[in-house]
């Protein structure tokens, strides 16, 4: 008897531990009745505390709550891509959320499946390409501020070697590397951009190591397409300079950090929620740029000289005010073949499926 009791007790303890381990939080005041508030939900691929990608979406959610106090937002963090996300999406739809923001590429098929079952719920999927009557996609032209950050890096480097810690060889990352390199080359034709792939989005120690290997290979400015500040710390330790990503990362490397291309989702979230509520919303593929404020270059620190700041401001104005964009010819690939003719531009489709490096990138795209 005593043994049985112990068994039940231990099982209970294990269960309690498992449930407290999962994190789901509602930021709304529990005392209010459900009908008073307009319910929206967010799912994040990483923890909110990553100081990177998911953190930037959470900052957008906070902005939404501040702008629209009658909205109730739920978020679920660290949701793995794949079948698990389908369960989470279904749960959120069942709980009466009107809009669900799915903030990672790998949720795409789950979103499509769940959206079919809940036609009255609006699904907004970040960085995907599949849409439906109640599914829209959104993303930002991060390559534009990346181009600007390339200008900053090329002005700062003395060794003419810039290190780029990259996550996975997918079009989004490749596009960023290319834009960065074009920006660097536009002010410093001798600059080369060395790329190291980590195959992680989120492992601070490894990403720091990758940055260190670039510094040892002669780089004196480090930039990153990673979700942790690991590379920033490496630059600081070896007295080099660094350009962050996702959010302002200056606090992690105050003596190295120059600037960062950053996300600013808040205004888009507010517009979307307003439109859905008013019934004026239509499914679309939103890809906002510097002009729309979805992406931006974070304020440059005092380590960037005035001349560079003025130059960046000029380039930024060019992108915002004219038809010129980063991928306007003439652009050559690594072998020197002309990929974009003089005066021509890559289409959005070509940008979204980019699988080649421009001239000036040192590194290979792994098969």
């Amino acid at each position: 008897m005593r043994k049985k009791l112990l068994g039940v007790m231990s099982l209970l303890m294990v269960l309690v531990m498992i449930f407290t381990g999962c994190s789901q939080k509602s930021t709304a005041d529990e005392s209010k009745t459900e009908d008073e508030k307009y319910k929206v939900a967010f799912i994040y691929v990483g923890p909110v505390g990553d100081a990177g990608w998911s953190y930037s979406h959470d900052a957008g959610k906070e902005y939404l709550l501040k702008e629209m106090p009658d909205v109730e937002a739920t978020y679920i963090e660290s949701v793995p891509e794949g079948s698990d996300s389908e369960r989470v999406l279904t749960e959120l739809a069942e709980k009466g959320n009107q809009i669900i923001f799915a903030t990672s590429f790998g949720y795409m098929d789950s979103v499509m499946n769940v959206a079919k079952k809940y036609p009255d719920v609006t699904f907004i999927h970040c960085s995907g390409y599949k849409t439906d009557k109640n599914v829209a996609t959104y993303f930002g032209r991060m390559y534009q501020p990346r181009y600007l950050s390339g200008v900053v890096a090329a002005k700062k480097t003395a060794s003419n070697v810039i290190g780029y810690v990259a996550a996975y060889p997918i079009p989004e990352v490749i596009r960023g590397i290319n834009a960065f390199t074009l920006g660097a080359k536009s002010v410093n034709p001798d600059a080369v951009v060395k790329v190291v792939w980590t195959n992680t989005w989120y492992d601070p120690a490894k990403e720091k190591e990758a940055a260190k290997s670039l510094l040892d290979a002669g780089a004196d400015v480090i930039t990153q397409h990673q979700d942790t500040p690991g590379p920033q710390q490496a630059a600081q330790e070896q007295n080099a300079f660094s350009i962050g990503y996702n959010t302002d990362m200056s606090q992690f490397a105050p003596e190295a950090y120059l600037t960062a291309p950053v996300w600013n989702w808040g205004p888009y979230y507010v517009d979307t929620v307003k439109a859905v509520r008013a019934g004026t919303w239509k499914s679309a593929q939103y890809w906002g740029g510097l002009k729309d404020g979805v992406v931006a270059l974070a304020p440059m620190t005092d380590l960037v000289d005035e001349e560079t700041k003025a130059l960046v401001a000029k380039e930024e104005k060019k992108i915002i005010d004219t038809d010129w964009d980063v991928f306007t010819g003439i652009i050559k690939d690594q072998e020197g073949n002309v990929k974009v003719q003089e005066g021509q531009q890559l289409t959005d489709e070509e940008l979204l499926s980019m699988d080649w490096f421009v001239e000036g990138v040192e590194g290979k795209i792994a098969e």
Partner: protein, 310 residues
């Protein structure tokens, strides 16, 4: 590759291996008592977050390190209570400990996000020893926690193979009934060593948040606890082999990154598989030559001991 690059690569491998080494040493001690604790990842995270928080509050990295060890140890007592006193499944309890630790560490660390470490362990060269060509820079120009890990290897080895307590520990791990019969207090021994295992895992976590990449980020161990568990098997429960193994496991990624800067493409996906491939290889190797009992796992590993069922 010239000499300087080789030295910096190997020196980085030592750093990358250190958190795994701490955790693996703890797990060896724990498993030697017959208790399999799969909660290493969770204990490391608890150590990382508590250590970081204590370092921020006290402005002293040593306080952080000590708190991390204590926190890891206390946290492991949950597993000890579940598996030794309540005799529930060690595998289930260990997994629960990892999941719980991940959640709890995020909870504790909420206010620590985005705060850079005010203090951290920096590199200190040991006089004379660091002047030894080649090896000096690799082994003796590191932070203090790396030096402590060297001492721990020796300490654990002596403890396991040269002390009375180590003998009792192994007796409990091999055959708890026999140990009980000669008057060894089985659950006490197991409690103590699960606790020590947690202390080491906490130290490994603190190495990440206070020395390696000094900051708190949720889930920052990124699977190192599991590598440590697999390293224990790879090392065949021997602390000296664990040293070699942790540097190999830690150094693989670094080698991959350095190779990339030299224009050699190695698939990072393949690099990630290697620790587990190695471990499988070792398992196949030891199962193939059964006769040698010295290298096998503790006899009662994973089995809860219950006196009535003797």
């Amino acid at each position: 590759m010239d000499n300087a690059i080789i030295i910096s690569t190997l020196s980085a491998a030592v750093i990358a291996g250190t958190p795994i080494l701490y955790a693996a040493l703890g797990e060896i001690i724990c498993e030697k008592s017959g208790n399999l604790n799969l909660g290493v990842e969770g204990m490391m995270l608890i150590g990382a977050v508590c250590g970081f928080k204590a370092a921020v509050l006290s402005n002293n990295p040593w306080v952080g390190f000590l708190v991390a060890m204590l926190a890891g140890g206390l946290f492991s007592l949950i597993h000890a209570f579940l598996t030794i006193t309540l005799k529930s499944s060690q595998v289930v309890s260990g997994l629960a400990l990892t999941i719980f630790g991940t959640g709890l560490s995020s909870f504790i660390g909420k206010s620590m996000i985005g705060i850079p470490a005010p203090v951290k362990f920096s590199k200190v060269a040991i006089p004379i020893l660091s002047k030894i060509p080649f090896i000096g820079t690799i082994l003796f120009h590191q932070d203090v926690l790396v030096y402590i890990s060297y001492m721990m290897i020796v300490a654990v080895w002596i403890y396991l193979y040269k002390t009375n307590m180590g003998l009792k520990l192994k007796a409990v791990g091999e055959n708890p009934a026999a140990a009980d019969a000669v008057g060894i207090y089985v659950s006490k021994i197991q409690y103590i060593h699960v606790f020590i295992g947690g202390v080491f895992a906490g130290a490994g976590g603190a190495y990440l948040s206070l020395a390696y990449s000094p900051a708190w980020l949720e889930n920052m161990t990124a699977g190192r606890g599991w590598i440590a568990v697999s390293l224990v098997i790879f090392a065949l429960w021997n602390p000296v082999r664990a040293l070699v193994g942790s540097y190999i496991f830690g150094g693989l990624d670094i080698l991959g990154y350095r190779a990339q800067t030299l224009g050699i493409t190695v698939s990072p996906i393949f690099m990630k598989m290697i620790p587990y491939l190695f471990t499988m290889g070792v398992l196949i190797f030891i199962s193939a030559k059964k006769g040698n009992r010295n290298i096998a796992a503790p006899g009662a590993l994973g089995v809860s001991y219950s006196r009535e069922e003797r």
